[in-house]
C-alpha cells in the first residue's frame, strides 16, 4: 500500500489517518487551482522572508547613509533608497516581520474570541444568544476602519495598540459564522450522544462544536487577512500604527509621500509589497473557500 492509498482510504482506521487524508484531499484540490497555488507560494515566501530577514536583507533596516539619500533603484539598491539613505529593499524585507506579526496576532486574538462568543450564543440560544448577538450585530454595523482609528486615537499610537484596535473590530464576523455553524450542529445526533454520556456544555463546545467550525473559520480568516494588512498599513500611513524608524510598509509609504513627484520609488515600492502579500491571502482564501466551503461564495 502506497502512502497515497493510505491517505485516500475510504474507511480510515484511525483518527490520524482520517485527518491526514482530509488534509491531503484539500491540498490536492488546492493544487488544481493555479491562483491558490500562487497565493500559497506568496504566503510561504512571506513567512520565509520574515524568518530569514537578517540573512536576506543586504543592508540594515535603520542604517542611514545620508550621502546616498533618495538614490533611484539600481544594482546596489534594488528599490532605491529613502530620504535618509536607507535601502528600501532591505526595509521592505524587514517589514515583512512586522506585517506577519500583525496578521498573526490579529488572527490569534480575534478568531478564537469570535469563535467562542458565536459558539456560546449558538449553543445556548435564548437570552444568551440574543444578548451576545445583539452586541455582535452592533459591532458589525460599525465602520471598521473608523472605529479602529478612534480606538488607536484613544489608546495612543503604536503597533501594539494598532493590533488591539484591529482585533477589536474584526471578531464579530467570526462570531456570526461560528453561531451559524453551531446552530446547525447543536441538535445533531452525535451531540445528543455526547450529552447522554454526561458531557457538560464546556466540553461539548470545546471538544465537539469548535473543531467543526474551524474549516469555515480558516476560510474567513484567510480572506480577512488582506483587509487586516490594509487597515494596519492605513494606520501606519496616518501615523498611528508602527512608529518610525520601524520599517512598517504603510508608514514607509507615508514617508515617501513627500517625494512622490520626483522620487516615486520611495512610496511605490512598499505599496507593491502590500499588494502582493494581500493578493496572496486573497488568492489562497478564495481557493480554500472553493475547496472547504463552496456554498458560501460571495457572502
Amino acid at each position: 500500500m502506497t502512502t497515497r492509498d493510505w491517505l485516500l482510504e475510504d474507511s480510515p482506521s484511525s483518527r490520524f489517518q482520517a485527518n491526514a487524508g482530509r488534509a491531503y484531499r484539500v491540498f490536492t484540490a488546492l493544487l488544481r487551482n493555479p491562483l491558490s497555488v500562487v497565493g500559497g507560494v506568496i504566503i510561504l515566501v512571506l513567512i520565509l522572508t520574515a524568518i530569514f530577514a537578517p540573512w536576506i536583507a543586504p543592508y540594515s533596516a535603520v542604517g542611514q547613509d545620508l550621502a546616498n539619500r533618495l538614490a533611484p533603484p539600481s544594482g546596489t539598491h534594488w528599490m532605491g533608497t529613502d530620504e535618509l539613505g536607507r535601502d528600501i529593499f532591505s526595509r521592505v524585507i524587514w517589514g515583512s516581520q512586522i506585517t506577519l506579526t500583525i496578521v498573526g496576532l490579529v488572527a490569534l486574538i480575534s478568531a478564537p474570541l469570535g469563535l467562542l462568543i458565536g459558539a456560546i450564543a449558538g449553543y445556548f440560544g435564548g437570552w444568551v444568544d440574543r444578548i451576545l448577538m445583539g452586541f455582535t450585530d452592533i459591532f458589525l454595523s460599525m465602520p471598521k476602519l473608523i472605529l479602529a482609528l478612534a480606538f488607536v486615537a484613544a489608546l495612543g499610537p503604536g503597533i501594539n495598540n494598532a493590533i488591539i484596535a484591529i482585533a477589536i473590530t474584526s471578531w464579530p464576523a467570526y462570531a456570526r459564522i461560528a453561531r451559524a455553524e453551531t446552530m446547525t450542529i447543536r441538535h445533531a445526533e452525535f451531540i445528543s450522544a455526547v450529552r447522554l454520556q454526561g458531557a457538560g456544555p464546556i466540553r461539548i463546545i470545546v471538544q465537539h462544536i469548535l473543531p467543526l467550525c474551524t474549516s469555515s473559520m480558516i476560510v474567513r480568516v484567510t480572506l480577512d487577512m488582506a483587509g487586516v494588512i490594509l487597515t494596519a498599513a492605513g494606520l501606519g500611513f496616518i501615523g498611528l500604527g508602527a512608529q518610525p524608524p520601524l520599517p512598517e510598509w504603510g508608514a514607509m509609504i507615508s514617508r515617501g509621500r513627500t517625494f512622490i513627484l520626483d522620487q516615486w520609488w520611495v512610496a511605490t515600492m512598499p505599496g507593491f509589497a502590500i499588494i502582493i502579500v494581500s493578493l496572496g491571502f486573497c488568492f489562497l482564501g478564495d481557493g480554500l473557500r472553493d475547496v472547504l466551503d463552496p456554498k458560501s461564495e460571495g457572502k
Binding site: L35, I138, M142, I146, L149, G227, G239, T268, F281
Partner: protein
C-alpha cells in the same frame, strides 16, 4: 482597502412567501428598534473611547499645553466628577442636541466643522459609487456569463486587486501619474487656488453650486479635481460590486428557469439580462447601498492623500492634533450615516422584491 460590508446577503435567501400586513408593521418596528439599539451602541462605543480609555480624558480634550485654569474648567464642564452612567446620559443628551464640543484645532464647534466638511465627502463618495456601479455591474455580469473563461479570470483578479490595494497608495500613484506627469487631472484639493471661494455655497456640493451660479469654468475645474479621487474610490466599490454581481448572477444562471428560457429559444442576451439579471436587481441595490456606506468610510484615507477638505481629512487632522472632540464627532457622524445606509439597504430588498409582496 477592503470595502466589504459585513452583512450577508444572497438572493437565494429570499423565500417566496406571501407577507401579511401585520408582519410588515412588526418588521418596521423591529427595524426601528435595531437601528435605535445600534445607534445607542455607537454612542456607547464613542463614549467609551472618549471618556474611559484615555488615562486623562481632560488632557485628551484640551491638549497637554493647556493651562491649569483651562484644565480645571474643562474638567468641571465635562462633569467628570459624576458617576459614569450619569456622564453617559449627559453625553447622549449633548450629542442629540448637536453639541459635540469644541474643536481644539479649528477653535469652532465640532458640529459646525462637520456640517461644513461633510458635503465634500458626500460629493466624492457619490461620484465614486456612480463610477463603481456603471463599471462594476456590467463587469460582474460579463464575468458570470463567461464563467471560467480568461475574461472571467481577468475580472476576478481586478476584483481581488480591489481587496488588496491600499487606497492611499493608489491615490498617491494616481497623483504622481495623472497629475504630476501627464497633467490630465487637477491636483489635490477641490478647486485650483484662484477659484477658491468664488461660488457661494448653497448645497456645499461644488458641482451643483457652480452650476447654480452658472460658473461653468469652475464646474469643469471642480470636475478635474474630483475625477481622480472619485475614480480611486470607485475602483474599490467596483471591485466589490463586480464580485457580488458575478456571484449573484452565477446563482441565477444555474437556476432551472434560466434553462426554461433557453428551451424557449430566447436569445442569450435576453436570458442574461431579463431572466438572470432582473431577479438580482433588488439584492444588488442592497450591495450598492452597503458599498456606498463603505465609500464614506474609505474616503478617510483618500481625503488624506488628496488634501480633500472633507470629514475624513478633518478626522485624521484631529487624530494627529489629539483633538478628541473632532475625532469622536467625525466618528459619530460617519458611523451614523454608515449604519443608516447599511440598515436601509438591508431592509430594502424585502420591500422591493415581488416575491415578498
Amino acid at each position: 482597502m477592503s470595502l466589504e460590508p459585513q452583512t450577508t446577503i444572497s438572493p437565494a435567501s429570499i423565500s417566496p412567501t406571501k407577507r401579511r400586513w401585520g408582519r410588515g408593521i412588526s418588521a418596521i418596528l423591529g427595524f426601528a428598534a435595531t437601528v435605535f439599539l445600534t445607534f445607542l451602541g455607537l454612542l456607547a462605543i464613542t463614549f467609551f473611547i472618549g471618556r474611559v480609555i484615555p488615562i486623562d480624558p481632560v488632557l485628551a480634550v484640551v491638549g497637554d499645553r493647556a493651562s491649569k485654569a483651562v484644565y480645571e474648567a474643562a474638567r468641571a464642564s465635562m462633569g467628570l466628577d459624576q458617576p459614569l452612567y450619569i456622564q453617559f446620559v449627559q453625553y447622549v443628551g449633548n450629542v442629540l442636541s448637536g453639541n459635540f464640543g469644541m474643536s481644539v484645532s479649528t477653535g469652532r464647534p465640532v458640529i459646525d466643522d462637520i456640517s461644513r466638511f461633510f458635503p465634500a465627502t458626500l460629493e466624492m463618495a457619490t461620484i465614486g459609487i456612480i463610477i463603481g456601479v456603471i463599471i462594476g455591474v456590467p463587469l460582474g455580469v460579463l464575468a458570470a456569463s463567461r464563467q471560467g473563461s480568461w475574461v472571467d479570470q481577468i475580472i476576478r483578479v481586478v476584483g481581488l486587486l480591489g481587496y488588496s490595494m491600499p487606497a492611499f497608495w493608489l491615490g498617491l500613484v494616481g497623483l504622481a501619474l495623472f497629475y504630476a506627469k501627464l497633467r490630465w487631472v487637477g491636483g489635490p484639493g477641490r478647486l485650483d487656488v484662484f477659484y477658491d471661494g468664488l461660488v457661494s455655497p448653497v448645497t456645499g456640493l461644488i458641482l451643483v453650486d457652480s452650476l447654480i451660479a452658472g460658473e461653468y469654468e469652475i464646474f469643469w475645474n471642480a470636475v478635474s479635481h474630483l475625477i481622480l479621487p472619485a475614480s480611486v474610490l470607485g475602483f474599490f466599490s467596483l471591485a466589490y460590486i463586480a464580485r457580488m454581481t458575478r456571484s449573484f448572477m452565477l446563482d441565477q444562471l444555474n437556476q432551472e428557469f434560466v434553462t426554461t428560457a433557453r428551451v424557449k429559444g430566447v436569445p442569450e442576451r435576453i436570458v442574461i439580462w431579463r431572466h438572470a439579471f432582473n431577479p438580482i436587481r433588488v439584492p444588488l441595490i442592497t450591495v450598492i447601498g452597503l458599498s456606498y456606506a463603505g465609500l464614506l468610510e474609505g474616503s478617510v484615507m483618500i481625503e488624506t492623500v488628496f488634501s480633500w477638505p472633507g470629514i475624513g481629512n478633518y478626522l485624521t487632522t484631529g487624530l494627529l492634533n489629539a483633538d478628541m472632540n473632532a475625532v469622536l464627532g467625525s466618528t459619530l457622524v460617519i458611523g451614523a450615516v454608515f449604519i443608516f445606509i447599511n440598515k436601509i439597504s438591508d431592509v430594502l430588498y424585502r420591500v422591493l422584491d415581488p416575491r415578498a409582496r
